[in-house]
């Protein structure tokens, strides 16, 4: 063994391991939070992008983040008569308390119309007909919900899975519009109406016509209606940045503490280095190299822990975890930079030690 950095790391395996875990903790936090946020956002985007309608028609002031069935289905026929409209599908989106994360959603639709408009197909079974029948997408089905099984919605109410569809589009479970209207005691109502244009390139002109002919409602383009979670939740981007800074601080503090202890323990060795003619720059670079080696190991462990935790969370809750290249790079930079910065003060302190005092250190 002739490498001081590696031999020093190996000399104190427990302390090195704790330092590595400290850096890994910061990296894991960044990767996990951003991975889950990105996974959920991309999942929502993916499902939303599979809604092929170009326009969404709602009541003015309605909020789609909660169950709202305040739009009359009488607009369905009126919308069909607007020039440029090919088809319309009324939808009730219902949010209900469920699962580990507290909220889930289900949609009430006329299955055949919805399937035709959104280009989804049944891969097993058939569409819902009775009030207690639902179809689910393949992701939900993969969580032990085959055709014929029952799924609880609205608390304890059992629904029978009669079909599995693909690709995923909107909420993962769908029942008939009539069933949903009945359960919500909202006959003749829906949350919004999906509108498919004859020519998608004319969607802005069609939207304007709808707005002119049916004033007092809200006409939105689908592209604007389903923004990414990161853009739609106020402060999420700031939260992520705060998280990154905190992770960097955690990494830096752990490495600083570890290196500070190391320097104190190795005071005499630093004195020897000085007696051998090692410059301040050499001593700082040796300590920085050790910190960077620890940080690099922390990075690898952090990525592995994040991947494991993401997999575990997905298995336990169904939430999707995605490794983002940009965030991985960010985590790598903060892990390494945090370690390097954390070691800077102990390194400078070591470089400035008086050699005679250091050599006499017991």
């Amino acid at each position: 063994m002739d490498n001081l950095v590696i031999s020093n790391i190996r000399q104190r395996p427990l302390r090195s391991a704790i330092s590595v875990l400290g850096v890994a903790l910061g990296v894991t936090l960044v990767m996990l939070f951003t991975g889950l946020s990105r996974g959920m956002s991309d999942d929502l985007q993916r499902r939303s992008s599979n809604v092929r309608a170009e326009i969404i028609f709602t009541r003015q002031g309605s909020f789609t983040g909660t169950t709202t069935a305040n739009l009359s289905t009488k607009y369905v026929d009126l919308l069909k008569n607007v020039e440029g409209v090919e088809s319309v599908v009324p939808v009730i989106r219902h949010f209900y308390a469920s699962g580990v994360w507290g909220v889930d959603q289900v949609e009430g639709v006329d299955w055949d119309s919805f399937a035709q408009m959104s280009n989804v197909r049944l891969v097993q079974g058939r569409g819902p007909k009775a009030f207690n029948e639902i179809v689910i997408d393949e992701t939900k089905a993969s969580r032990n919900h085959p055709v014929g099984s029952s799924v609880k919605l609205y608390g304890d109410r059992d629904f029978k899975v009669v079909g599995i569809y693909a690709p995923e589009s909107g909420a993962r479970a769908k029942l008939t519009l009539e069933a949903m209207q009945t359960f919500l005691e909202a006959p003749g109502k829906c949350s919004y109406i999906l509108i498919k244009c004859k020519n998608p390139a004319d969607q802005i002109a069609v939207a304007k016509r709808i707005n002119d002919q049916l004033p007092g409602n809200k006409v939105q383009l689908t592209a604007d209606f389903f923004p990414s979670i990161e853009n739609s939740i106020p402060g999420l981007a700031i939260f992520m940045r705060v998280l990154v800074v905190l992770a960097a601080v955690v990494s830096a503090l752990v490495v600083m503490l570890a290196m500070h202890t190391t320097i104190t323990e190795r005071t005499r060795e630093i004195g020897i280095l000085k007696a051998m003619g090692a410059s301040r720059r050499y001593i700082i670079s040796e300590i920085e190299r050790e910190a960077l080696a620890i940080s690099f190991m922390g990075l690898l462990v952090g990525f592995a822990l994040a991947a494991l935790a993401g997999f575990g969370i997905h298995k336990a809750t169904g939430l999707i975890f995605e490794f983002g290249g940009w965030w991985a790079l960010t985590a790598a930079i903060i892990g390494l930079a945090g370690g390097a910065l954390g070691a800077l003060y102990p390194a400078a302190r070591a470089a400035n030690l008086d050699p005679v005092t250091a050599l006499a250190y017991e």
Binding site: D2, N3, R10, G271, A275, M276
Partner: protein, 222 residues
């Protein structure tokens, strides 16, 4: 022979609290190239302080030290470090090897510090052969006897061809047999490589191995 070290009116006073404690009170010393010099004297007489001044680990309160033509006392801290790296090799009573490195690792570290990565394996092998350490290269210090550790420390001190080796009681922690062996190595280095050595010792037998002995008392050479 050329003068390799010259100390003129060397003074060193330590400040302990509010009290000035003089350690060296005006030392004049000239050492020729290839000389093997012993410094003797009672504890607290200033031997180690003088050695640390000559090695650039301390700065004098007054006076001048010139090593191999370079004025150590006029140099900045980084310049002194540079002179130390190029011209001085230290051997300590407590060996001061890096415990996590093998014997070879300790030597290679010295080479790296000295030469920005350039190493001289021939020189290393020659030194190791002379100090009879060839079969100990892959041992860590704790796996070596005291005598072997001190020989590794000696090898580390001379591997980069320093102008002067400064040894602070190198046999102080060794038994009689190992002391004799280490002293023999010092003599061989001096004979074969014309290595200049200044050695502090309390041991008259060790001093007897040297070409010249100076005695110190109360911060003076007597």
């Amino acid at each position: 022979m050329a003068i390799i070290l010259k100390a003129e009116n060397l003074e060193k006073t330590y400040r302990v609290g509010k009290v000035d404690v003089p350690a060296l009170r005006g030392i004049d010393l000239t050492v020729q190239e290839g000389e093997f010099l012993a410094v003797m004297g009672p504890s607290g007489c200033g031997k180690s302080t003088m050695l640390h001044l000559m090695g650039g680990l301390l700065t004098p309160t007054n006076g001048r030290i010139i090593i191999d033509g370079e004025d150590l006392t006029a140099a900045s801290d980084s310049r002194r470090t540079d002179i130390r790296r190029r011209k001085i090799g230290f051997v300590f009573q407590r060996f001061n090897l890096f415990p996590t490195l093998t014997a070879e690792g300790n030597l290679r570290l010295a080479e790296r510090i000295h030469g920005n990565g350039s190493e001289d394996p021939d020189r290393r092998r020659e030194i190791l052969r002379m100090l009879r350490l060839e079969d100990k290269m892959h041992h860590k210090p704790l796996e070596l006897s005291g005598g072997e550790q001190q020989r590794v420390a000696l090898a580390r001190a001379v591997v980069n061809r320093p102008a002067i080796v400064l040894a602070d009681e190198p046999t102080g922690n060794l038994d009689t047999e190992n002391s004799a062996l280490v002293l023999k190595m010092f003599r061989e280095l001096n004979d074969r490589f014309n290595q200049t050595i200044i050695m502090i010792t309390h041991n008259p037998e060790a001093a007897a191995a040297c070409q010249r002995i100076i005695q110190m008392r109360d911060g003076h050479i007597v």
